[in-house]
């Protein structure tokens, strides 16, 4: 047995029984004890093989073309070009302040809420320049999940129903929305945990459940692109695992971009990884290639933990 190639952490789930898993998720019957990697080995995650997962046909949905973003007196993003594809997870990595979150937020024009931000270059969604789209319409198609779980201070049901209703309208009423709400919750793998009490206050759920509710809420808008800004950094390992599995599953039907500080996480779930440094795109490559064999020195230093 080859001890240098431990199962990646994504497969480790000693206490699965405690947390209900999303629908359709298959738990390996057992993991032999000797297959569990030790702490030392898991640090060498770069050499670890990833889970086999179904190959999904990829479709270009968004293109970032020569995009630069300036704040009042600082250039946050410098001439970055990247494709965003349905069928794969794009991971944005890099040290703090390298512009990855700014780039992510520019994809649904959330950067515009910061008055001083100025964008040059072009971002397209299915060939249309996003600056020509209505921001509210764009943000339903390209929605975002945040670092901190932020359900609205209302019931689980109302959190999802809020998205389904047009702006501030109270109609359609509850009964009419129930199937759609339940579908969104099931989609995010939360329905089984909350179906008995959909009126439960969302802020009384656990952190991991709150974040999955936020995913359900985002999915209710039937988005085409899902942006994730360090969605697991406030969560415990088990919740992180549930959400990572969900992300990998969701990439089959929508394009996913994830910003993460956690290189293991990027390695576990991303198909392509873009490494950014000081606002520049240093390297963009398939995840396994970028981690195992980075072409650029700065990438090599970063993924081996030399800085950042």
């Amino acid at each position: 047995m080859d001890m240098t190639q431990p199962k990646p952490i994504r497969r480790l789930d000693a206490d699965t029984k405690l947390v209900p898993l999303p629908r359709g998720f298959h738990i390996p019957d057992s993991l032999p004890q000797d297959e569990l990697p030790t702490t030392q080995e898991s640090a060498s995650f770069i050499t670890a093989a990833r889970d086999e997962r179904p190959l999904v046909p990829t479709i270009d949905r968004m293109r970032i073309e020569q995009v630069s973003i300036d704040y009042a007196n600082k250039r946050a993003v410098r001439e970055v070009s990247l494709p965003v594809r349905q069928g794969e997870v794009l991971g944005l990595i890099g040290p703090s302040g390298c512009g990855k979150t700014t780039l992510l937020r520019s994809l649904n024009r959330l950067t515009e809420l910061t008055k001083a931000a100025h964008l040059s270059g072009r971002i397209t969604l299915d060939g249309t320049d996003i600056s020509e789209l209505e921001p509210t319409a764009l943000r339903r198609r390209v929605t975002m999940l945040f670092q901190q779980p932020n359900p609205f201070p209302m019931s689980v049901f109302d959190n999802v129903a809020y998205v389904l209703r047009e702006q501030a309208k109270r109609k359609p009423r509850r009964g009419a929305l129930r199937p759609q709400v339940e579908e969104a919750l099931a989609h995010a793998g939360l329905l089984d945990e909350v179906k008995d009490d959909l009126d439960h206050p969302a802020l009384r759920l656990s952190g991991g459940q709150q974040q999955r509710l936020c995913i359900a809420r985002a999915l209710a808008a039937r988005p085409e692109v899902l942006l994730l800004d360090e969605p697991c950094s406030a969560l415990d390992p088990q919740s992180t695992k549930l959400i990572e599995d969900l992300i990998v599953r969701l990439r089959e039907e929508l394009a996913i971009v994830i910003v993460t500080h956690n290189l293991q996480q990027a390695h576990r779930i991303a198909d392509h990884v873009a490494f950014m440094y000081l606002g520049e795109l240093v390297e963009y490559a398939p995840a396994q290639r970028l981690f195992a064999n980075p072409k650029q020195d700065r990438t090599r230093e970063y993924v081996s933990g030399a800085f950042g």
Partner: protein
């Protein structure tokens, strides 16, 4: 050892607390206890005196003319007056206060105007109520506002629930604004952004997410504001007419009452205090204990809504 610096020597007999610190601690204890003692003395005095003179029938009889304090009835009209004038003031202060707070926190542009609005609200918070009352007297005697009060020979009387409520609302307004602003500021920005990221507009976000989230603060502000309104006397004496019973104007039920004059518990206490025009201390004590109970109830509501607000937390 020498490279890391000399070890610090504390004298073995060094006192744990210096004298100045000990005096400070003693002073803090003393003032704290003194404050409690003064507060307790007032409450105990009022409750003992009040309960001694308060008879249940005072709560449902109006003041009337009599030869001694056993014959002069109760203060039903004053309780009604207190509730009605506080209600009128809050009906004005709460929507305006919430609107101002939302505009200041969520929009606040242009900056200059926001600053002007802010200092105006603060000015109301600091203005003596008698000054506001004097201003109200002039305003509500203006012919175009005559419909809000009684009119004699074409001259507006200028005293009514409308007049008193409107000016009293200026006392509650700064408190409502301050509390709602605090409630809105406590909502992290990413919650707003989450709503925008779902394609919602700013106004939808305010109506459906931010205001419901700030509801405990709205309630707290309303109740503390109500406490200030209930306790004010100057505006009542000058603008509510200070008649001992409710004198409605016209025959439309609620509207007539609101155009009419009355007293409240505070102005009743003012008139019946040993130094007042009527000098019926028993009535004053009885009314005082009822007023105290009302304010106490408001404080309980504030406490409960505060606890609710603390439950609502984003990580």
């Amino acid at each position: 050892m020498s490279a890391t610096g000399a070890p610090i020597h504390l004298p073995a007999d060094a006192p744990a607390w210096r004298l100045r610190d000990r005096l400070g601690l003693a002073f803090a204890w003393l003032t704290g206890l003194l404050f409690c003692a003064v507060c307790a003395a007032i409450v105990v005095f009022l409750v003992v005196q009040g309960v001694r003179y308060l008879r249940p029938d005072m709560l449902w009889t109006n003041p009337k003319v009599g030869f001694n304090q056993n014959e002069t009835g109760g203060f039903l009209a004053e309780i009604i007056g207190t509730v009605l004038v506080t209600g009128t003031a809050l009906v004005i202060a709460v929507p305006v206060g919430v609107g101002v707070a939302v505009w200041l926190t969520e929009y606040g542009r242009p900056r200059g105007l926001a600053r002007v609005v802010e200092s105006t609200v603060e000015m109301f918070a600091g203005a003596p109520s008698i000054v506001l009352a004097l201003f109200g007297v002039i305003v509500f005697q203006a012919p175009f506002l005559a419909f809000l009060s009684a009119t004699t020979q074409g001259h507006a009387y200028g005293k009514s629930f409308f007049a008193a409520g409107a000016i009293l609302s200026l006392l509650a307004l700064p408190i409502v604004v301050a509390n709602v602003r605090e409630g809105l500021r406590a909502i992290p920005d990413h919650v707003r952004e989450a709503s925008y990221a779902l394609g919602k507009t700013k106004i939808t976000t305010i109506r459906r997410v931010l205001l419901p989230a700030a509801r405990p603060s709205v309630i707290t502000g309303t109740m503390i504001g109500a406490g200030h309104v209930i306790g004010d006397t100057a505006i009542i004496v000058l603008l509510l007419g200070d008649t001992y019973t409710l004198q409605a104007v016209g025959h439309i039920p609620l509207l007539g009452a609101l155009r009419g004059t009355d007293s409240t518990l505070t102005s009743f206490i003012y008139a019946n205090a040993p130094t007042g025009d009527l000098n019926q201390p028993q009535k004053a004590y009885a009314a005082a204990v009822v007023l105290l109970a009302m304010v106490f109830l408001l404080n309980i509501v504030v406490d409960i809504s505060g606890r609710k607000a603390r439950e609502l937390k984003w990580t």
